[in-house]
Symmetry: C2
Subunit: 241 residues, 2 copies
DNA sequence: ATTGATTGGGCTAGTCTTAGACCATTGATG
DNA sequence: CATCAATGGTCTAAGACTAGCCCAATCAAT
């Protein structure tokens, strides 16, 4: 934990891969977070390439790879586009072990710690900021969405709820960081079976988070998020054992 | 705050610039955070290029730019290297306004919010983790370093103290995120005059942070960090007005 | 003074990436 | 059924980036 260790932290690779690989990751993030739901399509290639700051050629390579991997269905012509075909796999301990083996235990622990820190931080900041009527309404709406969701939409709307907390702080940096943190564990979360007991428990914890934020109580918000995420982490560990 | 807004969050540019620009930013981060102090030198080009995952040509362009801008002094031959010549400018309201104008008020607010969230999150996580003897010793050591620092070393050791909290959580993701958050405001912080009153105040707050972490009290840790950073933000605002 | 190891300086051939133009397909609409 | 706008498919020339190699400078050790 000396200076040289800190130097290593900052002098890490400038780029996580080539443009193609990074683009695949980014699109996969949008898909797995449910930002483009099954049946919907990505923006047109020309527009998307501009948004991502890459050439159309590179974007098309990435889309081709995701299409080959079964995440997208690309259709030509007017009203065509790259349609999302991905549906999260059925919860299963095998998938979970597979996902954990792919990332390694160290990275798993890193990802869970990271998520805990940034989501607690976001909730706390939002609670401190005394959100206005409009923001409160969005938060309550997202909570209701999760509670009304069927099993198919649950993960997606749960993600939307969690991300909206960071978004409502008004900090784009915080929003993208929370999205990043969430996407690092999304495959793991998808592997956890959705038992009614757990969903009920989660609903209570979600309510506690919203209550604390609406009450402007950062300590309670922090605690509620920590409890919720620790609960999820415990489920993961139990399911792994 | 609807789905399309969330999509924009994720479908942002894949790369923040070309390899040259990103490399300049990264080196500047290491320099401004004081990870390579004045008079010290960067690792040799060949080694650094590997660490940063770029070619030596691109690295050399970046070093050249920083050398031209007065941050580095490059010397050839054995025992040569790229020596850091940068010293933070004297605190001054002019510098501050300049820095703020460069980044814009929206980005400033974003950066401050971001830092508040991630540093509070890190402190909370560390407090929850019940750090071992060795970690506690590092934390106490860093605190002592700040308190014993002269005016010249204060900023650098203050940075080291703050970053060590994130590092001690054992999460590389969290450590790099906190380093990123800090570097986004370092120019602003450098512009604040170091009055003894403020330093004394900061010392008390630093102590409160360490006490809370050592006591394993995440709420107190969160509160202490929030108070400390809010104090800094208040100084900034006051100095801007 | 000579040597040798270490480090920055520079060149070249090849690959990755981009910008922009043009082609092909689709399906709603008149 | 012909049209047309939106969208994916393809090609090319130019620029960005890389890997690998060799040169030049410096200075401690001998």
């Amino acid at each position: 934990m000396d200076e040289s260790a800190r130097l290593m932290t900052v002098l890490r690779p400038v780029r996580a891969g080539n443009a193609f690989e990074e683009t695949v990751e980014r699109l996969l993030q949008a898909i797995k977070l449910g930002l483009v739901a099954q049946g919907e399509k990505l923006p047109p290639e020309r527009e998307l390439a501009v948004r991502l700051g890459i050439s159309r050629v590179t974007l098309r390579e990435a889309i081709r790879a995701l299409s080959d991997a079964g995440y997208l269905d690309v259709r030509r012509g007017r009203y065509g586009g790259a349609f999302v075909t991905y549906a999260p796999p059925e919860p299963d301990a095998g998938h979970l072990r597979e996902a954990v083996n792919e990332m390694g235990m160290a990275d798993l622990s890193d990802a869970l710690t990271f998520r805990l820190a940034v989501e607690c931080g976001a909730a706390q900041v939002l609670a401190m900021s005394r959100p206005g009527q409009e923001q409160r309404a969005v938060l309550v709406r997202r909570l209701a969405d999760v509670n009304e969701a069927g099993l198919e939409d649950y993960r997606r709307l749960d993600t939307a709820f969690h991300l909206s907390i960071a978004e409502l702080t008004g900090s784009p940096l915080l929003a993208t960081t929370c999205a990043d943190a969430r996407s690092r564990v999304s495959d793991l979360l998808n592997a956890i079976p959705m038992l009614q007991v757990n969903l009920d428990h989660a609903a209570v914890q979600h309510q506690a988070i919203v209550d604390a934020i609406l009450a402007g109580d950062p300590d309670a918000a922090r605690r509620a998020v920590a409890e919720h995420l620790e609960g999820t982490a415990a489920l993961l560990r139990a399911f792994l054992a």
